[in-house]
Each structure stands twice: as structure tokens, then as C-alpha cells.
Symmetry: C2
Subunit: 483 residues, 2 copies
């Protein structure tokens, strides 16, 4: 994954010997085909010129398959990297050191719905929306479903501790994972967490596995907690004269305790992208999208929100139900497509995903505007404002090396600013290979050493997704994660 | 801590040489006095005949103090066990292997309240109620405060991942801890977690430290998340004809999504204890205590609850505000004192603290009744019913060896039953030394091995609170944890 590989062809790194896979008796399949290997070299965030092909792809169909492959690979020093929908943005599921790509998509069963316990057991390959649909028959839903939930898997959400628009009310994926069956690096199978709603029994290995991006274990089954679907749903959007007004309105709504289920921000530039992409005909003003969930009293909650927004000179404020609500929200849901298609000459680059304490959200937004001006770049921003989570695209022309350099500097400066404000480099996308260089600036040397000690203890041979999350011991701070 | 020590005197185990403490330049103090050492040998759950005295007590007044003591102790193989209010019930803060007791109570500062971020930074020795009072001036509160919050410390709550009556609505202590400053076993100081409300940046070391009972690090500062105090509070109690009706009403309320802030169960026996203790004049019937928090619409929520309870033949149902609410709740708040004083001839023993999936809560309660009958014992039970968390006291006459043996068998059988129902041996009290023998039956051998690998990686010399949480490698499954 060095820059010398920028040939436009997938590089062929030193291979691992994977012939042993033929000797394993598996329920699933093994593929050595080029197209399978190409497909498993990339996720949504991979620069194809940097991609590393796995030496083989395994499609397990049982926990026993995963265990057998991991045990055999661990004995032979062959890396194993779990893969599923490939919708990650930070190279967390691609094989930095080649070896075996373990494609979990066939383990997609919805094993057991227990409405009386508000629980469901699923395979890691289950698509989020499919789980949500299955439990809807019982009046239930999976609250932390991320925006990508129509195409991403439960396993991927667990691997990155994903979150979504509903996180402001309901929390992250980790908060809704009760118990996990996990294959550890030596192939042993264990269960972490508990089906009880709370426990203080021993170390919280469940929370350690969640967000570890397949580097500490491979999840083969998950027990998720569910909630009752709200009786009343209302939502819409509000526009504000200035971005400062909009961000202050969001901060105030959250600290005043307005019970929002979703609260999302667009700057005027993002509204412009959205208009360019569709016939949304949005006012090109800073705006806030809101959704409310309640079993009763939703009008009072909308009024409470309106009162907070009024104090910040809200202009248009429209809340609705059903189809009209969906119309009002459409631009938010399509924002990534809008950014992708906006300027054919420019790429989006790595999407920014910083989160800061809510009181500093207005300051973080101002930093985006200042940095965009300073570097003369177009940087639309939007995000899960209620959590203090901000996304931004630093658009750049890949054929203009100066603009690319400015874009990279601007991106880095914004991450640094978020860290100065007490925030994180990655609110919900994970570290992957893409953001390993930010781990130490964010957490400090002692914390990264502790993370390294944990991964070395649980995976002494470096079998599980090496080259991801924890930087290699000899990596320079702030340098290219894998350079 | 062997049975041979049952002499009625505090035993004097093999001492560690702690003279090196005199050479450290500390802001705080070191004590070698007998009364200090005696006091730090016990928590609320310790059988005094089993107690182990520390060789010295250190009262640090700064992170630097903690770091210096831990670093020096780690070099010399001397155990260090953090201690604070001593209100734990499972020997989690007492020095199983002697050495140094690190009394954190002087590090009780409330450093910084940031209302705009809904955050407060505190020292680990801060009493929960003091933190809650300090932030009340800003209209905020710390939602997961346990029932012991008037006397227990934030550090102790973090060490055990405590929870309380509000957990059904607000979650556990872990859910409200954002960032921790921690002294690791080698004396290095690190920060884990983030002040951002969400992050997927690297391994979740914060959740690993929370609940680890001082075995992976000593917390020296905590950033807690806060919530706005609700505008409306209402609460009271409801009685039911049978225990099955009461437990089914609770399960239904939770699964139907009644927004209860607290929902607590008493069996008729516990109501009897309460009447004996005070002039509560409770009907000696199964009953449910409920509290609601809302910013508006609280009447509708109470009505919703009433409708669910009606379907289970609720008898008395009284909800009130202010002083009348406190009166209705008083018996629940005094329950531990009531159990302690009920029968002068009988001890409470170790309080049961199992949690099961909410759908199995009625079955768990029936198991308590069946086991009490089978062993001919008095076993009042009550608990945080909305979480599936059940407490019970297996009362026994310490001078009747047969009754003691029956009580211990009954206690163990109930834990086993909870595990069979997919539950946990300890919902909120921690494992400590007291429940180490249940760790493997609950989590399995591979998970316990993983926990052991983590503790050996982060504390290779076994300096931090050895003899707690993870069983020693040679302990028999289900045997005496420290025998």
C-alpha cells in the first residue's frame, strides 16, 4: 500500500500460501477467482490504486466454518479480514496485508425474534433494513440503524460501532448490542456480553469487540435489543438566517431537552448541492431537519422545539407526517449522492466525520468555513448536529496537484481543530487503515500502547485484520498509516 | 483468606514491604496505623472473619500521587487496591492480597461544570449526591445515580459499572461516563474515551475500565455526561392481587413503551419487612413503585401506565407529586435497612443481584418462591424490575449450620437459574472477590481466558487489585474464589 503502487492496476503484494483452505471441510465456499479477489480489495472509501487483493475469499455459512478457517490461518501466519457489504469508508474491512477475506454475507439469518424480551438474534451478514423489517411485524424496531442501513450489515455496524440519525435520542449501535458470539484469533468460539439488559459481571468484552473492526474477533451471531415503534412520528425542516443561528438553535434544543429523534444540519452550500442534484428547490440557507417520535403528546414536543428555534430567528418551520415529511427530508437522505455528482471535475475525498462536545459545535462549523476560505476550497458541511457530529466534503480536482495538497491540508487541519475542542477524529466511520495516523494524536501514546497490548494479548500472531486500527509500532505519529 | 482464619480477629497475612512509601514525595499522606488498616480491610459486604488488612493506606491528593505510588509498587511487586466509600457489596475494593490500600476520598473535587456541553469533570472521590447537587444549580442532573448515591463515590460507581432505579429510562453509569483519566499498572497516566458524545476511534478502553474494579487502572478524574432535570415528576405505587400479576404488569409496561423513569417491585414478604421497620402501613401485597419524568404530558404517561396495569387487575394505584410521592416511595428507599433489622436472629447474607431478560422476569420471581419453599427459608425479593434486575435476601441464622448450608445452596441455585434464563450473576454490584466463582459459569472458559489475557497484558505484574474479578488460573470452577 505504498505510493509506488499507484499504477492504476491492483497491486500484487507478497502472497500468503492459502492452499490449506482446500483441506478444510466447510459448509461454505472458498474462491480464488480474480473477480472475487478484486471485489474484496475495496470498500466505499478505498482508493483503488492503493488496494490490496486478498489471496482467497471464503464465504462461511456457519460459526464452525469461521472457526476452522481462523484456527488454520492463525497456525500458518495468514491474515484473515472480515468483509461484508463493503460500505465502510475507512478501509476497515479490506485486507491491508492480503491473506483471506472472510465474506460474512451468507451468514445473514434472522435466527430468533423474542418480542417479550425486546430482542432479536441475527447473523452478522444480515442487512440492517431486513432486520428492521422482520421485527416490524412485532411492532418493534432497531433504533440505531445508520443512514446506510438499507445496504450495510449488522456485522459491519458492530465492527465500526456505527451510529445514525437516531443516535441523538437512542444512542449508538453498541448501546443496542447485548450479546455477541465471537470467533477469537486462535479459532476458539466465545460469547461476550449478556442477554440481560444490564450486567456488571467481569470486563466488558462486548464493548471491546464492538468497534474493533474485526481485529480482536469475528462476530458470528449477535443478540440485539429492540424498542417499540413509536405511535406518532412527525418531522420536517426549519431554515435560519445564518449558520450561527442554526447551530445555536440545535445546541439549545439539545441542552434544553427537546426530545428530538433526529436533528440534522445543512449549511447553505449543502442546500445548493441538494438543489443541483434534484428538484428539491430548497432555500439555499442554513437549515435543520428534525424528526420527533412519541407515543402521545407529539404536538407539545413540536411546539417546544419551535419555541427554542424562535429564539434563534427561525424562518421557515414546517413539520408534517407521512409523505410530506418524507419530501421535506429527502434532500438530507440523498446528500451523499448529491455531493458525489455535484462537480464532475472534483472528487469528494475522504468524508470528514469529526464529533465535538455539543457546546463547541458552532465553533467547529465556523472552523470549517474559515479553513475553506483560507485554502480557497469548496467545503459543504452537514451532520448529526444533535450529537456534535459533523461531516464535510473537501472537494478537490484530482488533476490539480496544488488543489489536492490544499484539500489534504484543510482536511487535516479540521481534524486537529476537532481534537483541540475535545472531540474525536471519527464519530461513526471507524479508524480502519484510513485514520490510524490520528489515533495517537487523539488518545495519546499511553492509550495507544494500551490498545496495542490488548490486540497483542488477544491476537498474538497478528492474524485478525492486521494493519487496521492500531498503528504499527514503528509508524511515525501523524504519518501515513501504512507508509 | 482461608477458612483457617475464622478466628474472629483480623488475620495478618504475609506482609509486603511498604517502607518505600516514605521515600515518595506526595501531596497526600501515608498511614501505617492499625485503625486505618482495619477500616480499609472491609467493605459493606465483607465477612470480617475473612478480612485482609492492607499493609499501608495512602491518601493521594493528586494524579501525580497515584502515579508515583503505583509505579513504585509495580516495580516491587506490591499490590495496590483502590478504595473509597467502602459501600461495595462484593469485596471489590478490599485488598485480597494485602499491600497498599489507595484511598481516593480526598480526590473529591468537582473540577469543572460545563452546562453548554452537559458535562462535569470530577475527582473519583466525589460523592454522587454532591455532584448531583452541584450540577442542579445549572438545571442538570446525573441520571444513573445508584440508590447508594448519598454515600458512594463516583469512582466506586465507575469501578462497578453501578446502576440504579433510573437505569430503566437512563441506562447505567457507563452510559454517562465520557472520558476518564486513568493511572495504569506501570504508573503511566492516560486518558480513555472522549468528551465527544460519540466516537468510533479505536478500542473502547473507557468501557473496559468501567466495571473493571480497579484491576486494569485507577481512575483519577472523570468527565460525566448530564441531562436536564425534568420539569415534571410524578410517582407512587400500585398493588396487585398476585406476584404474577405484578411482574406481568411490569414486563408489559416496559415492552409497551410506557416511559417510566423508575419501576420497582416488592413481593408481599418485602412489604411485610417494610411494615415491621416503620409505620409505612403498606398493604402486604405484591406492589410496584413507579416514577415518571417528563417536560410535559406527564398525565398522559400516567394514564398509559394505568391502562397497562388495569389489564393485570391492579388494585390500589396512587400517583402523586412532592411530599406525598416521597411518602409513597419511602418503603422502597429504606428496604435494605428494613431487611437488616427484621429478624435479630438472622443475617441477610450476600444480597442476590441477578438480572434476566425482561420476558423471563416472572419466571425468575417464581424461582425465588420455589427455592424458598424447597429449602424452607424466608427469601424476600424486590428490585429494579424494569431492567429485569432482582435482589433477594436469603435470611439465615448464623448459629444454625444447617440453615446456613441451606441458605448458601438456595442462593447458588438462584444464580444458576438466572444464568439458565440467559441472565447474569451480578446486575450492578460487580464481581469483586465475592462472585469470581460465577464468572466462568456465566461467560464460559474462552471468555474468562480472554479477560485474563487482557488483565495480564495491562497489568503484567499483577499489581492492581489482584484476587478480584478474574479467577486465578488454578481456581476450580464454581469453587471458593480465593480458597
Amino acid at each position: 500500500m505504498t505510493r509506488e503502487n499507484r499504477t492504476g492496476e491492483l497491486p500484487t503484494p507478497a502472497r500468503h500460501e492459502v492452499g490449506f483452505l482446500a483441506d478444510l471441510e466447510l459448509d461454505g465456499e472458498v474462491s480464488h477467482g480474480d473477480s472475487d479477489r478484486d471485489e474484496h480489495a475495496v470498500d466505499y472509501g478505498t482508493d483503488e490504486t492503493d488496494a490490496v487483493r486478498p489471496d482467497a475469499v471464503v464465504y462461511p455459512e456457519s460459526t464452525a466454518d469461521v472457526s476452522a478457517v481462523v484456527a488454520a490461518a492463525d497456525e500458518r501466519g495468514v491474515p484473515v479480514t472480515a468483509y461484508a457489504a463493503g460500505t465502510g469508508l475507512e478501509d476497515g474491512a479490506v485486507p491491508a496485508r492480503a491473506g483471506i477475506s472472510m465474506d460474512m454475507t451468507r451468514m445473514d439469518a434472522i435466527h430468533d425474534i423474542r418480542p417479550d424480551d425486546l430482542q432479536v438474534d441475527v447473523g452478522p451478514g444480515a442487512i440492517g433494513a431486513d432486520v428492521d423489517e422482520a421485527v416490524a411485524a412485532h411492532g418493534l424496531f432497531f433504533p440505531p440503524l445508520p443512514s446506510s442501513g438499507d445496504i450495510s450489515t449488522i456485522g459491519g455496524m458492530i465492527a465500526t460501532d456505527a451510529s445514525g440519525m437516531g443516535t441523538v435520542k437512542y444512542g449508538e449501535v453498541a448501546d443496542w448490542v447485548l450479546e455477541l458470539e465471537v470467533v477469537l484469533a486462535d479459532g476458539s468460539v466465545t460469547t461476550v456480553g449478556s442477554k440481560a439488559a444490564k450486567s456488571s459481571s467481569g470486563y466488558n468484552l462486548k464493548e471491546l469487540i464492538v468497534g474493533s473492526e474485526g481485529t480482536l474477533g469475528i462476530v458470528t451471531r449477535a443478540t440485539l435489543e429492540l424498542a417499540g415503534r413509536p405511535e406518532q412520528i412527525r418531522g420536517g425542516r426549519a431554515t435560519f438566517p445564518t449558520l450561527d443561528d442554526a447551530t445555536a438553535a440545535v445546541s439549545d434544543a439539545v441542552t434544553a431537552g427537546v426530545d428530538v429523534a433526529k436533528i440534522e444540519l445543512f449549511d447553505a452550500e449543502t442546500a445548493m448541492l441538494a438543489n443541483d442534484y434534484s428538484d428539491a428547490a430548497l432555500p439555499e440557507r442554513p437549515m435543520v431537519f428534525v424528526e420527533f417520535h412519541a407515543n402521545h403528546g407529539i404536538d407539545e414536543e413540536v411546539d417546544f422545539c419551535r419555541a427554542v428555534f424562535d429564539a434563534h430567528d427561525v424562518e421557515q418551520f414546517e413539520m408534517a407526517s407521512g409523505e410530506r415529511m418524507d419530501e421535506l427530508w429527502r434532500a438530507r437522505k440523498d446528500v451523499t449522492y448529491a455531493a458525489e455528482s455535484y462537480d464532475p471535475a472534483r472528487e469528494m475525498g475522504q468524508p470528514g466525520d469529526v464529533t465535538v462536545p455539543i457546546g463547541s459545535y458552532p465553533e467547529m462549523i465556523r472552523a470549517v468555513k474559515d479553513v475553506a476560505d483560507e485554502y480557497d476550497l469548496f467545503v459543504p458541511c452537514f451532520g448529526h448536529a444533535g450529537d456534535g457530529n459533523l461531516h464535510y466534503f473537501v472537494l478537490r480536482d484530482p488533476d490539480d496537484p496544488d488543489e489536492v495538497a490544499r484539500a489534504e491540508a484543510a482536511y487535516g487541519e479540521l481534524v486537529e481543530r476537532a481534537l483541540e475542542l475535545g472531540g474525536t477524529a471519527t464519530g461513526e466511520h471507524g479508524i480502519g487503515a484510513g485514520k490510524r495516523s490520528y489515533l495517537e494524536p487523539e488518545h495519546g501514546e499511553a492509550a495507544v500502547e494500551a490498545m496495542r497490548a490488548v490486540t497483542e494479548a488477544l491476537d498474538p500472531n497478528g492474524t485478525l485484520n492486521p494493519g487496521t486500527v492500531v498503528p504499527d509500532r514503528d509508524d511515525a505519529v501523524g504519518g501515513d498509516a501504512d507508509g
